[in-house]
Symmetry: C2
Amino acid sequence: MATRTHRTQQERSEQTREALLDATIECLVSLGYARTTVQEICARAGVSRGAQQHHFTTKAELMTAALQHLFGRLITQVTASAKELPPGPERISHGIDLLWEAYSGTLSTAAVELWVAARTDAELRESLRPVDRALGHATLSLYREAAGDLPEAEVETLLLLSVNLVRGLALDAMMGGDEARRVRLLEEWKATVLERYLAFTG
Amino acid sequence: MATRTHRTQQERSEQTREALLDATIECLVSLGYARTTVQEICARAGVSRGAQQHHFTTKAELMTAALQHLFGRLITQVTASAKELPPGPERISHGIDLLWEAYSGTLSTAAVELWVAARTDAELRESLRPVDRALGHATLSLYREAAGDLPEAEVETLLLLSVNLVRGLALDAMMGGDEARRVRLLEEWKATVLERYLAFTG
């Protein structure tokens, strides 16, 4: 039985856009920001330069949309996992694992490439900033909701400490640091947070 | 009275080397790794390509030597400051400040540029790895010495957590994150470490 797919103009346009964004992330991860060119992205996506320019005018615009795209997928995934967190103190340990998974994968690698490039590229920096801020806010409200009994200020502090620690560890992983050591440090951090949690909730 | 400076061949060679390494760091900080070329480094150092090639054969070699150079200067400075740390629990807070100063300045910016570039550049990665490891060991033994009463394993864990947190915060600073928030998180972290210290030492 033959299957026929009817694609509307809008669906085709959406697919082109997605192919470009996926290829952008793929290039960032395998080549790094500096060696990623719009030509290479188009080649990997199987999209013509004309079609690409219809969607994104500049490299910075393409990069920002790719980060947003990746982040959107990630937040959906983390929101789903957060709903299944066990109740009580155990959720702390699982919550930190979730954060580490989010930051140690493709998102983190692509984001670090972009952040570092943005330091010396004003156009990219301006373009990334709002996405970055939105990412921070979405993560925070997700964790606030998941944290249950802890006071808001305390949740924010522990989350931000966790995010920065995990970012440092992601950098360590990128540099080829010892994995067993990272696992041990994450466990130590969970124990520290758990202690604070128990001190607050009794 | 006229002052005459006699420079031996060796002194001149040492000065050329230093000028090249300083220019390399300057380029990494102001241009980023990707836009740093050996030509630009030579121009800023006022050194001919011939003289440069006498000292360093490849870009990776130049980068590694520059990181080593910067790190040498930093470890001298931190060793001196560590000797003046106050006794007792107060040294914890000062020790974390020292770490933050070390990681939030030029070293960190240059190092992050190199680490990120090394992820997608095998030659640079191989060249940086031993320097990186030496840097880690020197910092650890410095802190072990400064930590006084704490057991060794505990010092190592707290130092590594601090280093990774500070690295994450350095990335946050590079991305233009809120400075007041970073200061607050560092204070929170100091309080956490102090609590562990007091639990151990009574």
